[in-house]
Protein backbone atom coordinates (compact mmCIF):
# COMPACT_ATOMS: atom_id res chain seq x y z
CA UNK A 1 0.00 0.00 0.00
CA UNK A 2 2.79 2.36 1.07
CA UNK A 3 4.79 1.52 -2.07
CA UNK A 4 1.79 2.22 -4.34
CA UNK A 5 1.18 5.53 -2.67
CA UNK A 6 4.81 6.51 -3.12
CA UNK A 7 4.78 5.55 -6.81
CA UNK A 8 1.56 7.51 -7.41
CA UNK A 9 2.98 10.54 -5.58
CA UNK A 10 6.21 10.43 -7.61
CA UNK A 11 4.36 10.16 -10.93
CA UNK A 12 2.05 13.07 -10.12
CA UNK A 13 4.82 15.33 -8.81
CA UNK A 14 7.34 14.70 -11.56
CA UNK A 15 4.97 14.62 -14.53
CA UNK A 16 3.18 17.89 -13.72
CA UNK A 17 5.45 20.16 -15.83
CA UNK A 18 5.17 17.84 -18.83
CA UNK A 19 1.38 17.56 -18.80
CA UNK A 20 0.68 20.47 -21.16
CA UNK A 21 0.63 19.14 -24.69
CA UNK A 22 1.95 21.05 -27.66
CA UNK A 23 -0.54 21.79 -30.40
CA UNK A 24 0.47 19.88 -33.51
CA UNK A 25 -0.59 19.38 -37.12
CA UNK A 26 -4.00 17.71 -37.30
CA UNK A 27 -5.28 19.22 -34.03
CA UNK A 28 -8.24 21.55 -33.95
CA UNK A 29 -7.12 25.16 -33.47
CA UNK A 30 -8.27 26.60 -30.12
CA UNK A 31 -10.76 29.46 -30.17
CA UNK A 32 -9.83 32.70 -28.42
CA UNK A 33 -10.98 36.24 -27.77
CA UNK A 34 -8.51 38.94 -26.91
CA UNK A 35 -7.70 42.63 -27.20
CA UNK A 36 -6.05 44.21 -30.22
CA UNK A 37 -2.64 45.68 -29.40
CA UNK A 38 -3.23 48.84 -31.40
CA UNK A 39 -6.68 49.42 -29.90
CA UNK A 40 -6.98 47.60 -26.54
CA UNK A 41 -10.66 48.44 -26.19
CA UNK A 42 -11.42 46.50 -29.38
CA UNK A 43 -11.75 42.76 -29.16
CA UNK A 44 -10.37 40.24 -31.64
CA UNK A 45 -12.47 37.08 -31.88
CA UNK A 46 -10.95 34.03 -33.55
CA UNK A 47 -14.38 33.19 -34.96
CA UNK A 48 -13.45 35.83 -37.59
CA UNK A 49 -10.97 33.26 -38.93
CA UNK A 50 -13.71 30.73 -39.69
CA UNK A 51 -13.63 29.65 -43.34
CA UNK A 52 -10.27 31.33 -43.88
CA UNK A 53 -6.69 30.15 -43.95
CA UNK A 54 -5.03 31.63 -40.88
CA UNK A 55 -1.49 31.92 -39.59
CA UNK A 56 -1.32 32.45 -35.83
CA UNK A 57 2.17 33.70 -35.01
CA UNK A 58 3.55 33.96 -31.47
CA UNK A 59 6.10 36.77 -31.25
CA UNK A 60 7.86 39.05 -28.81
CA UNK A 61 10.12 42.09 -29.09
CA UNK A 62 13.01 40.26 -27.38
CA UNK A 63 13.06 37.53 -30.03
CA UNK A 64 15.34 38.20 -33.02
CA UNK A 65 13.80 35.73 -35.51
CA UNK A 66 10.34 37.17 -34.70
CA UNK A 67 11.56 40.47 -36.13
CA UNK A 68 12.83 38.69 -39.26
CA UNK A 69 9.49 36.93 -39.71
CA UNK A 70 7.27 40.01 -39.53
CA UNK A 71 7.99 41.54 -42.99
CA UNK A 72 7.64 38.10 -44.61
CA UNK A 73 4.28 37.51 -42.93
CA UNK A 74 3.13 40.98 -43.93
CA UNK A 75 4.06 40.32 -47.55
CA UNK A 76 2.13 37.04 -47.54
CA UNK A 77 -0.84 38.72 -45.86
CA UNK A 78 -0.95 41.37 -48.57
CA UNK A 79 -0.41 38.84 -51.36
CA UNK A 80 -3.03 36.29 -50.29
CA UNK A 81 -5.36 38.48 -48.20
CA UNK A 82 -7.97 38.72 -50.95
CA UNK A 83 -7.96 34.92 -51.28
CA UNK A 84 -8.93 34.48 -47.64
CA UNK A 85 -5.57 34.39 -45.87
CA UNK A 86 -5.29 36.06 -42.47
CA UNK A 87 -2.29 36.52 -40.19
CA UNK A 88 -2.71 37.11 -36.47
CA UNK A 89 0.32 38.05 -34.38
CA UNK A 90 0.02 37.09 -30.71
CA UNK A 91 2.36 39.24 -28.62
CA UNK A 92 4.15 37.70 -25.65
CA UNK A 93 5.92 40.73 -24.20
CA UNK A 94 5.58 41.13 -20.44
CA UNK A 95 5.50 44.92 -20.85
CA UNK A 96 3.10 46.47 -23.42
CA UNK A 97 5.62 49.31 -23.91
CA UNK A 98 8.14 46.82 -25.39
CA UNK A 99 5.55 45.65 -27.91
CA UNK A 100 4.68 49.24 -28.81
CA UNK A 101 8.34 50.07 -29.45
CA UNK A 102 8.65 46.98 -31.65
CA UNK A 103 5.51 47.87 -33.60
CA UNK A 104 6.97 51.30 -34.37
CA UNK A 105 10.15 49.79 -35.81
CA UNK A 106 8.44 46.92 -37.66
CA UNK A 107 5.12 48.12 -39.03
CA UNK A 108 2.75 45.41 -40.26
CA UNK A 109 -0.76 45.57 -41.65
CA UNK A 110 -2.15 42.37 -40.11
CA UNK A 111 -3.81 42.32 -36.65
CA UNK A 112 -1.53 42.06 -33.61
CA UNK A 113 -3.20 40.94 -30.43
CA UNK A 114 -2.34 40.82 -26.72
CA UNK A 115 -2.38 37.75 -24.52
CA UNK A 116 -2.27 39.23 -21.05
CA UNK A 117 -3.41 36.16 -19.13
CA UNK A 118 -1.37 33.71 -21.28
CA UNK A 119 -4.69 32.11 -22.25
CA UNK A 120 -3.82 31.80 -25.95
CA UNK A 121 -0.23 30.71 -25.28
CA UNK A 122 -1.39 28.00 -22.90
CA UNK A 123 -3.94 26.76 -25.44
CA UNK A 124 -1.40 26.56 -28.30
CA UNK A 125 1.61 25.90 -26.04
CA UNK A 126 4.39 26.91 -28.46
CA UNK A 127 7.78 25.46 -27.55
CA UNK A 128 9.86 28.11 -29.35
CA UNK A 129 9.68 31.76 -30.26
CA UNK A 130 8.50 32.47 -32.83
CA UNK A 131 6.10 29.63 -33.53
CA UNK A 132 3.46 29.93 -36.22
CA UNK A 133 0.42 27.72 -36.72
CA UNK A 134 -1.00 27.50 -40.23
CA UNK A 135 -4.69 26.71 -39.90
CA UNK A 136 -6.91 25.55 -42.76
CA UNK A 137 -10.40 26.75 -43.63
CA UNK A 138 -11.94 24.01 -41.49
CA UNK A 139 -10.08 25.18 -38.39
CA UNK A 140 -7.45 22.46 -38.22
CA UNK A 141 -3.75 23.10 -37.70
CA UNK A 142 -1.99 21.91 -40.85
CA UNK A 143 1.58 23.08 -40.35
CA UNK A 144 3.59 24.29 -37.37
CA UNK A 145 6.63 26.49 -37.97
CA UNK A 146 8.98 26.49 -35.00
CA UNK A 147 11.48 29.33 -35.26
CA UNK A 148 12.06 31.32 -38.42
CA UNK A 149 14.85 30.60 -40.90
CA UNK A 150 15.53 32.02 -44.36
CA UNK A 151 13.96 28.97 -46.01
CA UNK A 152 10.76 29.28 -43.93
CA UNK A 153 9.45 32.11 -46.13
CA UNK A 154 9.31 30.05 -49.34
CA UNK A 155 8.02 27.00 -47.50
CA UNK A 156 5.24 28.99 -45.86
CA UNK A 157 4.27 30.70 -49.11
CA UNK A 158 3.90 27.34 -50.85
CA UNK A 159 1.79 26.00 -47.99
CA UNK A 160 -0.49 29.06 -47.96
CA UNK A 161 -0.87 28.93 -51.76
CA UNK A 162 -1.91 25.29 -51.47
CA UNK A 163 -4.32 25.75 -48.56
CA UNK A 164 -6.23 28.68 -50.00
CA UNK A 165 -7.26 26.44 -52.92
CA UNK A 166 -9.05 24.09 -50.54
CA UNK A 167 -12.77 24.58 -50.04
CA UNK A 168 -14.19 25.10 -46.54
Amino acid sequence: MMRRLLIAWSVVMLSAPALAAELKAGDRAPAFKTALLAAPTNEFDSSALRGKVAYVDFWASWCGPCKQAMPVLDTLYKKFGNDGFVVVGVNKDAKPADAERFMKSVAVSFPLVADAGNVIAQAFNPRHMPTGYLIDRKGHVRHVHSGFRSETAAELEAQVASLIKETP
Binding site: A18, K92, N118, A121, H128
Partner: protein, 71 residues
Protein backbone atom coordinates in the same frame (compact mmCIF):
# COMPACT_ATOMS: atom_id res chain seq x y z
CA UNK B 1 12.60 2.36 10.21
CA UNK B 2 14.42 1.67 6.95
CA UNK B 3 11.13 1.95 5.06
CA UNK B 4 10.27 5.23 6.70
CA UNK B 5 13.66 6.63 5.77
CA UNK B 6 13.24 5.49 2.16
CA UNK B 7 9.73 6.96 1.99
CA UNK B 8 11.01 10.26 3.39
CA UNK B 9 13.80 10.34 0.82
CA UNK B 10 11.36 9.68 -2.05
CA UNK B 11 9.00 12.38 -0.77
CA UNK B 12 11.79 14.94 -0.47
CA UNK B 13 13.34 14.02 -3.84
CA UNK B 14 10.04 14.23 -5.73
CA UNK B 15 9.05 17.48 -4.01
CA UNK B 16 12.40 19.01 -4.97
CA UNK B 17 12.19 17.56 -8.48
CA UNK B 18 8.74 19.06 -9.00
CA UNK B 19 10.18 22.44 -8.05
CA UNK B 20 12.26 22.42 -11.24
CA UNK B 21 9.53 24.07 -13.28
CA UNK B 22 9.92 24.60 -17.02
CA UNK B 23 10.05 28.18 -18.23
CA UNK B 24 7.74 28.33 -21.21
CA UNK B 25 9.14 29.69 -24.47
CA UNK B 26 6.87 32.72 -24.32
CA UNK B 27 7.99 33.60 -20.79
CA UNK B 28 11.69 33.95 -21.59
CA UNK B 29 11.59 37.70 -22.10
CA UNK B 30 13.12 38.37 -18.68
CA UNK B 31 15.90 35.86 -19.35
CA UNK B 32 16.70 37.61 -22.64
CA UNK B 33 17.36 40.97 -20.93
CA UNK B 34 21.00 42.14 -21.17
CA UNK B 35 21.29 42.34 -17.37
CA UNK B 36 20.26 38.69 -17.10
CA UNK B 37 23.20 37.48 -19.17
CA UNK B 38 25.98 35.56 -17.46
CA UNK B 39 28.45 37.92 -19.13
CA UNK B 40 26.41 41.08 -19.35
CA UNK B 41 29.37 43.45 -19.61
CA UNK B 42 30.40 43.77 -23.30
CA UNK B 43 34.09 44.21 -22.37
CA UNK B 44 34.08 41.08 -20.21
CA UNK B 45 32.34 39.26 -23.05
CA UNK B 46 35.02 40.37 -25.55
CA UNK B 47 37.81 39.37 -23.16
CA UNK B 48 36.22 35.97 -22.65
CA UNK B 49 35.95 35.51 -26.41
CA UNK B 50 39.59 36.48 -26.91
CA UNK B 51 40.65 34.18 -24.09
CA UNK B 52 38.63 31.29 -25.54
CA UNK B 53 40.10 31.89 -29.02
CA UNK B 54 43.69 32.07 -27.71
CA UNK B 55 43.27 28.97 -25.61
CA UNK B 56 41.38 27.20 -28.41
CA UNK B 57 38.65 26.29 -25.99
CA UNK B 58 35.18 27.76 -26.25
CA UNK B 59 32.26 27.24 -23.94
CA UNK B 60 34.18 27.67 -20.71
CA UNK B 61 32.65 31.05 -20.04
CA UNK B 62 29.06 29.85 -19.93
CA UNK B 63 26.35 30.48 -22.43
CA UNK B 64 25.86 33.76 -24.22
CA UNK B 65 22.48 35.24 -25.12
CA UNK B 66 19.29 33.64 -23.99
CA UNK B 67 15.57 33.80 -24.11
CA UNK B 68 14.11 32.48 -27.29
CA UNK B 69 16.61 29.67 -27.72
CA UNK B 70 17.43 30.97 -31.15
CA UNK B 71 20.92 32.37 -30.76
Amino acid sequence: MKRLLLASLVLIATALGAGCANVNAWQRGHLARPDMQLAGDPLAKALNKTYAAKEAGTGSAGVGEGGCGCN
